[in-house]
Symmetry: D2
Subunit: 301 residues, 4 copies
């Protein structure tokens, strides 16, 4: 039996196209967001706006959260303990947020004590990717619960990877994945700058790598975007990239794993924020690489 009524807490840039697709699929969706304005379009399509998080909870039903960070997640679930009771023994909380494994674990423990089941389904894909239903999900949790939410997610996206019983594993996997992406950006930026300084045509170099060993979406799409300097109309903001790299560094310390490339990225993102690039695309770390090499970056204007 499929559940056709869903709750959604934290409906930002990434969650909005998801809710849109859910509405298109005929789901009834209760939405809560700190600010109502960004949701007007969804509301006009049929989403039901809820003033408080509790109101977006369906007893014994599925509730998604796509809150922005650890602090938001923990404070919502700390301040609104009634969520757990309302979800009850049958309810399911599906966390889509990019948060630390630690925070995920804390929420999981609370569910065990206070009620509601908990699983994680982190979203791989930026808002434009979700818009085109090409995102995929990294899931972890008890298999019964995963089975329950899988059809919902599959109806609005490209695929699901399942990792195990402990929900926080999916959070760790998402961080590993984002780390790999960011490290590929940094490495391309260094390689392109080095090549350019040596007189190599960067477009030719790009073709060379992206048609051979690195013939995959990440190097093709991000590589091209770096070369065409698509730094100023962000698909994923620098500030969010920095947040994710902070999560990686913190989680790395927590599990006692020195990650030296992650440390390089940490410093790179900190420098980018120090230079006021919060609203650039995170690919814009390439600018910092160039500036270090004495290449004066052209202004945006």
């Amino acid at each position: 039996m499929q559940e056709k009524k869903l709750g959604f807490i934290g409906v930002g840039q990434l969650a909005q196209p998801m809710v849109k697709h859910l509405l298109d699929q005929g789901y009834e969706v209760l939405v809560h967001n700190r600010r109502r304005d960004p949701l007007e379009k969804l509301i006009s399509k049929g989403a039901v706006y809820c003033q408080s998080p509790e109101d977006a909870v369906i007893e014994g039903g599925i509730m998604f959260n796509c809150l922005p960070d650890d602090t938001a997640l923990l404070s919502v679930f700390h301040a609104h303990g009634t969520i757990f009771r309302k979800l009850g023994d049958k309810g399911l909380h599906v966390s889509l947020a990019t948060i630390s494994p630690q925070a995920s674990k804390i929420v999981h423990e609370r569910h065990k004590t206070l009620g509601g089941n908990y699983c994680v389904a982190t979203v791989m894909g930026r808002p434009d990717v979700v818009e085109n239903k090409r995102q995929f999900y990294i899931m972890a949790g008890e298999s019964d619960q995963l089975d329950r939410v899988r059809p919902v997610l599959e109806s609005i996206g490209g695929g699901v990877f399942t990792l195990g019983e402990k929900p926080e594993i999916a959070n760790a996997a998402k961080l590993s994945f984002n780390f790999l992406i960011a490290s590929a950006i940094e490495s391309m930026a260094e390689a392109f700058t080095f090549a350019r300084k040596n007189g190599v045509d960067v477009n030719q170099f790009y073709s060379m790598i992206s048609e051979t060993l690195f013939a995959c979406p990440l190097y093709k799409n991000y590589g091209k975007a770096i070369i065409y300097r698509q730094f100023y109309e962000p698909l994923f903001k620098m500030a969010l990239g920095a947040k994710d790299m902070n999560l990686v560094s913190s989680a790395a310390k927590e599990c006692r794993t020195p990650m030296r490339v992650a440390s390089v990225l940490q410093d790179r993102f900190t420098a980018s924020l120090a230079k006021g690039r919060d609203n650039y695309d995170w690919l814009g770390i390439a600018l910092d690489v160039e500036e270090e090499a004495g290449i004066v970056s052209e202004s945006q204007g």
Copy 2:
């Protein structure tokens, strides 16, 4: 008109399958190598062994070098100045070696002064890849000369990328390429170790990345090899990887490009050599990543 007689100086692990393919294609090949033993098989197939480098030079013909490093290259061409005169105005020196752009430039200058044309065609692919004719070449030089050598290379490999008139550009491009490969190895090693410490099944994580954003030969093949710990029967030795990263670092200084991930790699390879892993595969830098994270590496035996 195709040239069916070729010279080959420096016939190591990488050059041997190339010469074999050339013989198979009906080329007559003069080979010089410091040690004769490794060439016995090729000689029995028809390669003509030459005691001195000059003897492997065909007047006005094509001469390949696949010498191991800057020092070997510069000392051979310094000690054997007659090579230039024997090549003459019509001769062509094709450098396949992984050397610094600086050394390449020096040899180029000498050719301009002493005779012989010069172009670079660096080889992308390890010996096993060359064996299967799946390597490709990054070429640079005057287009007449590139046209001359291209059919020879295409007859024994997978493809050719052409970059411009200055030969040393192809050396720089090769270094950029190898840097990208090494940085992907380091990043995967860090990501896998982090994932593993957080309870993620690394095989599942591997599937996740290699079937989506990182669905390309590099991540697929090297990722699998890291997971299956293929460190002990080297396809590309640690000592050679370290040499290449030294070339990257030196060239980066030379062109005034700080490359922080290259610095991480430099330290990583130095540590691997310090631990006596010269003859491991260069993927074995993953062992150092694990040891740093307190994972005691199983012994090879």
Copy 3:
């Protein structure tokens, strides 16, 4: 008028010799600590043990805290809001703890709202240094309040540096200071290992630096301790060093200052904890430097 009755919350290894000296100076001291056992000696010397933090507060008086970290500090002051009211308008909270500027700011804000004055006096010196009254203090806060606590601190230590009106400045200065110390340890470990590998007698090298440009307590004392391998009977534990470097890294991100040597230290301490060295002296990061260089560290036993 001097205040002869004082409260003390969080009486660990560092605070114990301070309280002892205060008792010796004739102060009456109320002490609160989560565990009572470590305080028996002080209690027998006259310290009055208090079950709850509030009980250690003297109305309108001076209360010190020397809690171990941000979490402890924030949870004590969150759970025991009555502390603020009991201190009242005239009371003074002196924070001796090594905490983040951010946490310090939060506590300061609460005092402004709920009562009590707040200043910071971070302690420079390990327990053995405090024992010998050779520690010094980095203070910040309103000058009236600093004047009030200065004689107390001067009676039991070596000196006071005063930095300005905002209390959290003293926390930042302490972190900068500890960062400088840790970076000197790392640099000496690298220099000594490099020297040793090149056949230099490390004792002679030590004399050379510590009698000339680096003739100061830090290089003299820590340099000697590294050479004599005083890693196993900690004067300042690795785990605490790691905590301090985490504070530095977090605060560096917070104020948008990339600190690359701090990132190196972060990775170094994480590796040391990964290898189970929590209870070594923080100088023991030198072992990790040696292991990276292929020097197999002798076991402790």
Copy 4:
């Protein structure tokens, strides 16, 4: 018996005050330098200019070299093999240059084969320090030879440290020393920037460190110079600092010692050169630290 006639090859900024002091002490000094102009003053004081290096060699006597780098040293001694024969069995070559242990070893080997004794006496101190006779020397070599040159050096400087029989040990020690200095500069720059961003008065912070744990010439002098931004009238040029850090990195690879802070310094100096700061003082790496932190550096003018 003291030798009152000396040869000197390579008389740059550092060697000039040394020769001046030698003349003042009554020595007769033969000087060779690629360019004669900078030596006019010394010549007018009595130094004897020699067109070729051999002419500056006294048979069986002492010859100093203070050549700028490995390349200069090796090419002079390669091109002028007669130097060895002219020095003869009794002659002594004292190398004052900052060169790699490897290059030093090569020259040493040649002396063993071709004639002349060899020892190393690296100079600790910049030209202004040598001017005031406050430099000191790090020496290594056979003790007979060291005894022979010691009185000469002591007559014009502050002191001598002796390390052992292998001359190249003194080169390694000098590199370790310079590394320690550069790492202290980097660490201070990071600490000062961090402190400043947190509202700490950097002058007060400077007092705090330089009057306590870091009360030594290095932190006092260099710390003050960083704060007063003495970057533009170099006492030791950035380009020379970069050269020395290159020597450290290369020697570290050679002896298989990963030095992570040295890698940070390498990137820092490369960035400073990339920004065109070759003629700044090497303390100017602090500018790069600030720029990374978003602090726009004031122009020099």
